[in-house]
């Protein structure tokens, strides 16, 4: 039971981290109708900038400064890159962000090399917050949960309760009307893109010390982020939350429980062959749940798309 609770908490950390990326991505998608393939690259930039700043002035200024810098880079990418490509259509836009993702990875390797950075959690948070039946739960993970929840609540408040949020929501659905009412819609788009990438950067700074800061971190998380927002339904914020938590728990539980396929097959009445290694079906008998873990999100995505092409909570046709 205690292991179960630890896994619930670990999955929550992963899920909320995913959600910080997915929320920005899904906002950008509902705004421009294009998936930002480079979103996870901004997360990586956040981690690297956070690391670089932390070597000069410590972790906390990095947590504030890195997202601001990345937000401005994101806004510049929208202003000078995406807006330019926009007139060629959706497919070139998608290809542009894909190229950007490749380029950012190369640029990161250019400046910081291929090896992992020694980015560490601040000393203040290096203690066990509490322990469940002997399993210590680090304070840093509690901090991650609070940051992610805080970002989500602030975002929700701004989008639903403030005037700016109402203008943004209106601009998503009726950009021309909002433009005619005298609001600067391209500016709003640029701002939302910047804020979305800045949120990815916050996720990067707080995830860097735990998941590692290395050039492959964007690719590692990037595909999962897309899978998550497709499962949740493109453009749906609540869908992104549900899908992020689902994937977070799915991955954590798959990694924690060492279920063997063989046990399952025996349970349904099959007998294990004597010389498993020689059999054509040897993989079927030797598979374990942690091995299958990495492919579960993709399987889930395909199942969801076959049954509900719009995703779990998506309403939009794409």
């Amino acid at each position: 039971m205690s292991l179960f609770i630890v896994n619930i908490l670990d999955g929550l950390v992963t899920g909320l981290l995913l959600f910080m990326l997915c929320s920005g991505l899904t906002l950008i998608f509902s705004m421009m109708g294009v998936l930002n393939f480079a979103h996870a690259s901004f997360y990586m930039l956040g981690a690297y900038f956070g690391y670089q700043i932390s070597t000069y002035v410590g972790f906390w200024p990095g947590l504030i400064l890195a997202p601001i810098i990345v937000g401005f880079i994101g806004a510049a990418v929208e202003r000078y890159g995406l807006r330019r490509v926009h007139k060629f259509g959706h497919v070139p836009e998608l290809i542009f962000t894909f190229g950007l993702a490749l380029l950012i990875e190369e640029v990161v390797q250019y400046f910081w090399g291929k090896s992992q950075m020694a980015f560490e959690a601040p000393g203040v948070l290096k203690f066990a917050a509490f322990s469940i039946a002997g399993n210590a739960f680090p304070a840093y993970k509690v901090f991650m949960i609070f940051i992610a929840m805080g970002v989500f609540l602030v975002l929700l408040y701004i989008l639903t309760k403030t005037r700016i949020g109402m203008i943004i929501q209106a601009a998503l659905s009726y950009p021309e009307t909002v433009q005619n009412l005298g609001h600067n819609v391209p500016m709003i788009f640029m701002g939302v893109f910047g804020v979305g990438t800045a949120m990815a950067a916050i996720a990067g700074v707080i995830a860097g010390p735990v998941l590692g800061t290395f050039p492959g971190m964007a690719v590692l998380l990037g595909s999962i982020v897309f899978v998550t927002i497709v499962i949740g339904g493109l453009g749906s914020l609540w869908g992104a939350l549900v899908a992020s938590l689902l994937i977070g728990w799915l991955q954590t539980f798959a990694a924690a429980y060492n279920l063997r396929m063989a046990d399952l097959l025996v349970a349904i009445g099959l007998t294990e062959p004597v010389d498993v290694a020689q059999s054509m079906l040897s993989d079927l008998w030797t598979l374990t749940l942690p091995q299958v873990g990495p492919i579960l999100p993709y399987l889930l995505m395909i199942i969801v798309l076959v049954i509900r092409p719009n995703g779990l909570l998506g309403k939009r046709e794409t």
Binding site: I95, F98, Y110, F226, D283, I302
Partner: protein
């Protein structure tokens, strides 16, 4: 696509012989060119590069059947080439160990059929939508199969992959395909067959309807064509030719690993096709040749060649979305108007400053890279034949100064080129 539309209009206007000489000529020239290449470049390394190029061309052309002709962006296309290759590798092993009678030159047919089978299977649910949803499903399927390749050891061979021996099959006309030269000719023949097949496919009614679905799926639907089926058929055809490329990969390298299936391979084929130009049939061919050459040459001289390729790719998407072929095709109109000569002078003037500008950009990046990553005691670096200490500020300042000068000249000359361009595109009496 205007080029294709006009040719369609022509063919319907007047009856033509079965194979017009004019459209057969480029193919005959290509065949002659491929036959003579090994005479000019007989070395083993050159043959390997040419084989690599031929496979990339088939793969890129097959990819463009989706991206250029049907408007579908796939992020997981390595899967069909890779799976075709893996199956062919197993077939080769069956030939070796179980006396299966299968002449090597026929192997690509089976590779194609395997590719077709998987494209049929996966296309059945992925082609229901175009655009972003299709792109995301293709990414998911690609990642899924790449991840499976490490789990399913019996079929994919785990991390070391599956290897075999191509020479164990029955001899065909006395060839056992042990030498690179024989493999080159086999690859070249399949390149011609596959390219011709894909070209003819683009001329069939289904190929034309694929263009219509790409441009406006709703109108195509109202004409009575199911957009989903059109996409599915294009997808299957593309999978077939990818499988052929996979089989050729198996024959050439005799090993397939997880690398043949992963996102990096899928991404690079997108890059190649887009650099070449998606709007023309010849585009991916040019892309594949240029990319393979760049990859081979650049990686010899610099560690950061992938950074250059990334920059080139992003700049192409931003400024020349029609790719290299589009850039060449832009000059067709001045050529037809007989005014191409007007461009020669301004282009020649622009050439030197533009080259210096690019050169100084490259030099700056190389110096910074060296200064950041050189190990202690190895501060000396060699660039364009000049040796200097990369830790000094002087070389950087000199390079920036030269670059700024070249940039100023380019800005100064740009209006002249623009003016000449407008003049050259202006037909008399309009």
């Amino acid at each position: 696509m205007s080029e294709q539309n006009t040719s369609m209009a022509k063919s319907s206007a007047s009856a033509q012989p079965l194979v017009p000489i004019k459209s057969a000529l480029p193919w005959l020239a290509a065949i002659a060119f491929l036959l003579f290449l090994p005479v000019v470049f007989p070395s083993g390394a050159a043959l390997t590069i040419m084989n690599q190029m031929a496979m990339t061309i088939i793969f890129a052309l097959a990819y463009n059947m989706l991206l250029g002709q049907a408007g579908m962006l796939s992020f997981g296309h390595a899967v069909y080439m890779g799976l075709g290759g893996f199956f062919c590798m197993h077939l080769l092993n069956q030939v070796e160990y179980n006396e299966l009678y299968l002449p090597l030159p026929l192997l690509p047919v089976f590779g194609g059929l395997f590719g077709l089978f998987f494209a049929f299977l996966i296309g059945s649910f992925s082609t229901r939508r175009a655009g972003t949803v299709f792109a995301m499903i293709s990414l998911g399927v690609g990642e899924l199969i790449a991840a499976c390749s490490i789990i399913i050891v019996v079929f994919f061979g785990g991390e070391e992959g599956v290897s075999g021996d191509r020479t164990m099959g029955p001899e065909v006309f006395g060839f056992d395909f042990a030498s690179q030269q024989e493999v080159y000719y086999l690859t070249a023949i399949w390149l011609i067959l596959a390219a011709l097949g894909m070209y003819l496919f683009s001329r069939t009614p289904i190929g034309r309807i694929a263009n219509a679905v790409r441009d406006n799926e709703e109108r195509a639907e109202f004409l009575g064509y199911s957009q989903r089926n059109v996409r599915w058929i294009s997808f299957c055809a593309s999978g077939f030719f990818c499988g052929i490329a996979g089989a050729l990969f198996a024959i050439n390298f005799e090993i397939l690993t997880e690398e043949n299936l992963n996102l990096a391979t899928s991404g690079s084929i997108l890059l190649i096709t887009f650099l070449g130009g998606v709007g023309f049939f010849i585009g991916p061919v040019i892309g594949a040749v240029v990319f393979t050459l760049l990859q081979t040459v650049l990686s010899l001289y610099t560690e950061i060649w992938q950074l250059y390729l990334g920059i080139l790719f992003v700049l192409t998407v931003m400024f020349f979305p029609a790719g290299l072929t589009g850039l060449l095709a832009m000059h067709l109109r001045p050529w037809k108007l007989g005014k191409i000569g007007l461009l020669a002078n301004p282009y020649a003037k622009m050439l030197a400053p533009a080259l210096v500008l690019v050169g100084s950009g490259v030099a700056l990046m190389e110096i910074l890279f060296h200064a950041r990553h050189a190990s202690l005691g190895e501060e000396e670096m060699n660039l364009f034949g000049i040796t200097f200490n990369s830790q000094d500020w002087l070389p950087t300042i000199v390079v920036v100064a030269i670059g700024a000068g070249a940039f100023y000249l380019v800005r100064l000359l740009a209006p002249q080129v623009k003016e000449a361009w407008d003049m050259a595109n202006h037909a008399e009496g309009q």
